[in-house]
């Protein structure tokens, strides 16, 4: 089967004081209609990978790749206009904190309708209906009330649900979620993930889940990619995480405290310079 997303040798380079700095150094991945997790620590290039796919790389940086295909569209040669129409319509992105990614002076309902109207010619009544249906789909109990609220009037979990509703309303095939639940409390986190999980499964979307939380990603995704210093160090099925080969993945797993395990002191990751080669 043809993958939804096919990337080969992706590189993102930022200009630096002492020469260019590569944040992403040759990432290759294929994503079908599945849940793929990208795990890494700060500075591993995981977020820049997601942004490069979305076409949201900061203007001072340059993106190069041998291949960057989304369905049948070549993202490398696509015009900015083409990419804009792709965003939201066919690929969407959820960011970490709904507080910063929702427009504070527009009601939640209007923001969802705006997104829909950018991509489809719909009547006002239909747009409203679809927005309300979407709010219901993300399990907001009183969609009509939340529709007219501003982002600051809702909790973090509710805001992130509204964000998901906004991103999915135009029916994208690919969803990139960059730390979508890191700003949320643990129990809320799981509720939001359950909603995301169901929607992705029901609509047959491809999901790229970017997170620092190895445990969360491994329980949520089908496959996991582990990144270190801008490169993929290991790729494996979530079920096989316990048998990870790369010392970095193993070290990362081991360094987490776990309930019921008495390990004092905790094993510490011994970073080897050759991992970054």
């Amino acid at each position: 089967m043809k993958p939804l997303l096919d990337i080969e040798d992706l590189r993102v380079t930022f200009p630096g004081r002492s020469g260019p700095i590569q944040a992403v150094r040759g990432v290759s991945l294929k994503l079908g209609r599945e849940r793929l997790g990208i795990v890494g620590e700060s500075g591993s290039g995981k977020s820049q990978t997601g942004r490069a796919i979305m076409g949201l790389t900061p203007p001072q940086a340059t993106v190069t790749a041998k291949k960057m295909m989304f369905n049948d569209i070549d993202l490398l040669t696509a015009s900015p206009k083409q990419r804009r129409s792709l965003r939201g319509k066919q690929m969407a992105m959820i960011l970490q904190d709904p507080k910063y990614s929702l427009n504070p002076v527009m009601t939640i309902g209007r923001q969802i309708i705006e997104t829909l109207k950018t991509h489809e010619k719909v009547s006002r009544a239909e747009a409203r209906d679809r927005a309300l249906a979407m709010l219901e789909a993300v399990q907001i109990r009183e969609p009509k009330r939340v529709f007219d609220l501003h982002p600051h009037e809702v909790s973090g979990g509710m805001g992130q649900r509204a964000m998901i509703a906004m991103m999915l309303v135009a029916g994208p095939e690919l969803l990139i979620a960059d730390e979508p639940t890191s700003a949320l409390d643990v129990t809320v986190q799981l509720e939001v993930l359950a909603i995301l999980d169901r929607l992705v499964a029901d609509r047959g979307m491809g999901l790229l889940f970017i997170s620092h939380d190895l445990r969360l990603v491994s329980t949520f995704c089908d496959r996991v990619i582990v990144m270190y210093a801008g490169k993929i160090v290991e790729e494996l099925a979530s079920a096989d995480l316990a048998n990870a080969q790369h010392p970095y993945t193993r070290g990362l797993l081991n360094s987490l405290p776990r309930i019921g395990q008495d390990r004092h002191p905790l094993p510490v990751l011994d970073r080897k310079p050759e991992w970054a080669l």
Partner: protein, 252 residues
């Protein structure tokens, strides 16, 4: 034996909103005590109230059996009780070198032999002399948190309040900081009160813990109770399950 920290029926109000309501906690000398909860549970407020950074509206706080007068903390208190903050990027003065940050508490409390103390404090937290005259922006998050720990320990306190000391750090760095904290606690026989949203971290670090929700203590448990599933409150169960990661419920 008198408790190192005794909080009785404590209430904290911010603009009419009760952040803490009738909270009682007792921490024995040399013990490591955890406070677990989600945002708005009041766990950080409790810590800040003890440190004198939150407006106490009811109840009492006692250190080593001596009750603290409302809102008043003297220098002796701050030699006994120190705090490490959550955000290592925000807890160090951006325009002061590490040296200044460590010298300041020594100057305030009139310590002698400051040179040696600063060098020793840096060594204790695993930062060499090379870090002494750097500015915070030249350090990584983990290194900053080490400096914050050194700053808290340099006045030789007996009680250290830890407000989510590792939640802003990467997992591998978290392990290093947790190990450092444990090691200093052992070496200096410190009493820890540690706040975290991560049940596993508190379970690892503490002997007893209190689960907090909505400004109340839901349940106080020995840490071993978690592994044995010996908890009663539903909320504790929910947190416990959440700490295991995501579980996919098969759809019918």
């Amino acid at each position: 034996m008198t408790a190192a920290l005794e909080v009785k029926a404590l209430g904290v109000e911010y603009h009419g909103h009760k952040a803490l309501d009738n909270v009682s906690v007792s921490v024995a000398r040399g013990e490591s005590f955890g406070l677990v909860g989600e945002s708005g549970s009041g766990k950080s407020t409790l810590l800040r109230a003890v440190a004198g950074l939150a407006p106490v509206s009811a109840g009492s706080i006692a250190i080593d059996g001596k009750a603290l007068r409302q809102g008043k903390r003297d220098r002796a208190f701050y030699r006994e009780v120190q705090m490490v903050f959550q955000d290592p990027y925000g807890s160090l003065h951006p325009r002061q070198t590490i040296d200044r940050a460590l010298l300041e508490p020594l100057a305030i409390h009139g310590f002698d032999n400051t040179e040696n103390r600063i060098v020793r404090a840096l060594e204790e937290v695993g930062l060499g002399k090379g870090f002494r005259f750097r500015y915070p922006h030249q350090l990584s998050g983990g290194q900053r948190q080490r400096v914050a720990i050194a700053r808290a320990l340099i006045v030789e306190p007996s009680i250290v309040l830890l407000d989510e000391p590792t939640s802003a750090l990467d997992a591998s760095v978290q392990a290093e900081i947790l190990n450092l904290l444990e090691q200093t606690r052992k070496a200096r026989k410190l009493t820890f009160v540690m706040v975290s949203h991560d049940l596993a971290v508190v379970n690892h670090m503490c002997e007893r813990l209190a689960i907090m929700q909505g400004g109340h203590v839901v349940e106080t448990l020995p840490a071993t109770a978690l592994a044995d599933h010996a908890f009663k409150a539903d909320y504790t169960k929910k947190l416990f399950e959440a700490s295991d990661g995501f579980t996919r419920r098969e759809q019918a």
